[in-house]
């Protein structure tokens, strides 16, 4: 009996468990998923919690509910991977040997990595919305806030869902407008990027959006420290931005078990072949989702596209054939822009997000890089798609490989 071991039962781990459960012969393979917690959060929903659009209990479900019956689920922390001995040490004391390993341990925020960010003011005047606790606390705070200068600060790239900070700003603009207090709130984005977003065309479009909504952008700001007393951000070059309310996207890092295993880069992301998804230099180890160092977006849609490629490669690999399916970096993200509208971007390693139309049989076309209500419905529908189709490894009507159909090249 061979052993397929999946570390992490979040978006990526759950998708792979479902795909492999129906493909691997039960007489030949057993499949195990290890995760430290029982709760599976729909993370894209965190964005909506601070504004009271979703409540936390509406975006969490039991992890096991999404794992097919033949999968063994072990509730435990992961201590360390020993790739030489093909063994994983768990914090419950057990060690597991594997024949094939999938690392899907994701990424998390680390406010303690920045001087002065994580102190007694964390949760009082400084918040995050990337964790259940952070998003909940911010919702509480916003309800009673009288206004002032709201600064959203991105500490460093890469971050999970790089459009989420922009969506937060758009939704904040709508939230304060609807409460009749937009004139009392000054909204700012402070970012290490040279503009609103990473790639030129979408950065221009999204930059115009911010401007139209009266949101000020401070680009090229590399955060060095936070001064909680004076309520200001200080960059490495000593430029400063003051705030009344700080919404922080702290440094995102891979899990500490990656560092303990001596496998990660400087941010604990696992060096991974960007096409085959094999861990660099390790036998029988693959990486899926946010845990890798791939230059693709860290997003659930990306984990989904990657999973189709990884699925093919794992089936080849266990038959002793070379992994030949290639991931192209495809990402597809709805961007909520407030007031019941949204945008959609579709891109890959080589092609930046372009305007145009995104054909989707039966539902689309969605508008690319332009605001529309159908894009907003796409975003809100994503929660249903996530629980019912995406996690279950069902094929979606969007190909893993990006298509140029409908896109306008400048």
């Amino acid at each position: 009996m061979r052993h397929m071991l999946i570390l992490g039962g979040g978006t990526a781990g759950t998708i792979m468990a479902n795909k492999l459960a129906s493909a691997l012969d039960e007489r030949d393979w057993r499949i195990t998923v290890v995760d430290a917690t029982e709760e599976h959060y729909y993370q894209p929903g965190f964005l909506f919690v601070p504004f009271g659009i979703y409540r936390m209990r509406e975006i969490v479900k039991p992890r096991r509910q999404f794992l097919p019956g033949r999968i063994q689920f072990i509730l435990s922390g992961i201590e360390r991977i020993d790739a030489e001995k093909k063994t994983v040490m768990l914090s419950v004391g057990e060690s597991l040997r594997y024949d094939c390993l999938i690392i899907a341990t994701g990424a998390d925020i680390h406010p303690e990595q920045t001087d002065g960010l994580f102190d007694e003011e964390w949760g009082r005047s400084k918040f995050d919305f990337y964790t259940p606790k952070g998003a909940d606390r911010l919702a509480q705070f916003l309800k009673g806030w009288q206004g002032g200068k709201l600064v959203l600060s991105i500490t460093e790239m890469p971050i999970k869902c790089p459009v989420a900070p922009l969506e937060f700003l758009f939704l904040a603009d709508a939230y304060f407008t609807e409460r009749g207090m937009r004139d009392k709130v000054d909204i700012h984005l402070v970012t290490p990027l040279s503009g609103a977003f990473t790639k030129p065309t979408s950065s221009d479009v999204l930059g115009e959006f911010l401007e139209r909504k009266g949101i000020t952008v401070t680009p090229d700001f590399d955060l060095g420290r936070v001064d909680s007393k004076e309520k200001k951000l200080v960059a490495w070059d000593e430029t400063e931005v003051s705030y009344d309310l700080l919404v922080s996207i702290p440094t995102n890092m891979g899990n500490a078990c990656i560092a303990r295993s001596g496998m990660g880069n400087e941010l604990n992301f696992v060096p991974t072949d960007k096409q085959t998804l094999k861990a660099d230099g390790l036998e029988d180890v693959f990486v899926l989702g946010d845990a890798s160092n791939l230059p693709s977006s860290k997003a659930g849609s990306v984990a989904h596209f990657q999973s189709e490629i990884l699925f093919q490669n794992i089936l080849e690999h266990i038959e002793g054939r070379p992994a030949c399916a290639h991931f192209d970096g495809h990402a597809n993200c709805f961007i909520e822009s407030g007031f019941g509208k949204g945008l959609l971007i579709d891109f890959n390693y080589e092609t930046e997000p372009l305007p145009g139309e995104f054909p989707l049989p039966g539902i689309g076309p969605f508008k690319l890089l332009q605001e529309s209500s159908i894009n907003h419905y796409g975003k809100m529908m994503f929660r249903w798609v996530y629980w019912n189709l995406l996690l279950r490894g069902v094929e979606l009507p969007i190909e893993a490989e990006m298509s140029m159909a409908g896109k306008q090249v400048r």
């Binding site: 460093e156 590399d222 490495w236």
Partner: protein
Amino acid sequence: MGTLSIAGKTIELDADGHLANRTDWTEDMAREIAAQDGIPELTPQHWAVINFMRTVFAKEGDAPSIRRLTKESGVDTKTLYQLFPKGPAKRAAKIAGLPKPKGCI
């Protein structure tokens, strides 16, 4: 795409204003690019960073991030920003004759 004239030679640049061909790079050229970029003199600490970047690039095909520079080049973040004001990763890459770091999205 632009060009750069150094010591009577014309060198091709890419869309970001970095050297188009890494093999064109020489130490003299680094001094020249730095001077044009507002860094009049390259100290041994500058060179430590530049050489570290070139080594990483040759091995991995992308320039290292600031975090990695701090961790592995032996120069702390504060100093990096003093050596290469306004974005050390980008500026040091340019002087080292490497393309603009890809960064991530």
